[in-house]
Amino acid sequence: MSDWDGRRWHDMGGQAAGPVPMEGHDFALWEKRIDALMVLCGQKGLFTVDGLRRAIEDMGEDAFEKYSYYERWIAAVNQNLLEAGIYSLEELATRMDEIAARGPTYAEAQHG
């Protein structure tokens, strides 16, 4: 039996939490590219910001703790593009496999 009240994990206003961590980082190129893909695909009507948020919310709290901000965003971008039929899961899987063979770093693998 579950005693869940219906509050979803991302809806965190008012929950107990520790001190605000003040460390920052600058965005790497792959993160900036994800940001750009998000904006451009949104402008083209391939998905909406709410579609991206929905995908992130549905990933669950575990993803929030385990993955970084732009890791969750590329997962959400991909989820929405798959749902919109922009490419198939097979095309994505094959391409990700090819990319791994290009080299061990982002610098080597980033261009096909």
Partner: protein, 218 residues
């Protein structure tokens, strides 16, 4: 004085990013699963003629060009031009565009700090931020800690940022739950009567426009 996290007088230090950190060398780290996904998604979008590479490069440049300096210019103008300030408080999107900032479809509301009220911006449901004016948000803005606590104990959060408000000052928290984005119009510091608009803008920090800080003293 309140501590400023990453605000600097000059947003473009040599060899440093716009927020004053060294650039990350992530291009040389081991290729991750999510980086492979980014490359694959980008290549498929180009091959299927949804995007061209130049669009992606241009969008990155557009985003990199946005920084708290844009908001600082808007604030400084509002400090010296009462008519502009009235227009900013009536419609902050139109006022920002009037100053030449390309903020896209951003619906911006400016909220004014006074002797009696201090405003604080948060997004508890995700991390909405006026990015088309101020650039990308600081990491702390996106954390569980800030998102959870800013609405329940804003005064304690502000103390962590070095800002201890008197009980006589009302705290007004704004949760960006839907289509609006917010910026704080901070109060003009004392002793700045003789300063130019540019000199005033240099006092306006990013955090002072989120509400977690105050402008610098001259």
């Amino acid at each position: 004085m309140p501590h400023d996290h990453h605000d600097h007088d000059d947003y473009h230090h040599e060899g440093m990013s716009s927020s004053g950190h060294p650039y990350r060398a992530d291009n040389d780290g081991p290729l991750t699963y999510w980086q492979r996904m980014e490359i694959a998604v980008r290549e498929l979008l180009v091959e299927k003629s949804h995007l061209i590479p130049a669009q992606i490069a241009t969008q990155i440049e557009v985003m990199d060009a946005r920084s708290p300096a844009n908001g600082a210019a808007v604030v400084a103008r509002a400090w010296i031009d009462p008519d502009f300030k009235a227009r900013l408080l009536a419609d902050a999107s139109a006022a920002s565009r009037e100053m030449g900032f390309d903020i896209g479809p951003l619906n911006l509301i400016a909220v004014e700090n006074t002797a009696d009220a201090h405003n604080l911006i948060v997004c508890t449901l995700c991390s909405c931020y006026p990015r088309n004016l101020l650039g990308l948000p600081p990491d702390w803005y996106k954390t569980r800690e800030y998102r959870s606590r800013a609405v329940r104990e804003p005064r304690a959060v502000l103390r962590e940022f070095g800002l201890d408000l008197a009980e006589s000052v009302a705290v007004r928290v704004h949760d960006s739950t839907a289509d609006m984005r917010y910026m704080v119009l901070p109060a003009r510091p004392e002793g700045t009567e003789g300063l130019s608009q540019e000199q005033l803008a240099s006092l306006v920090t990013r955090d002072s426009m989120i509400g977690t800080g105050l402008p610098r003293q001259p």
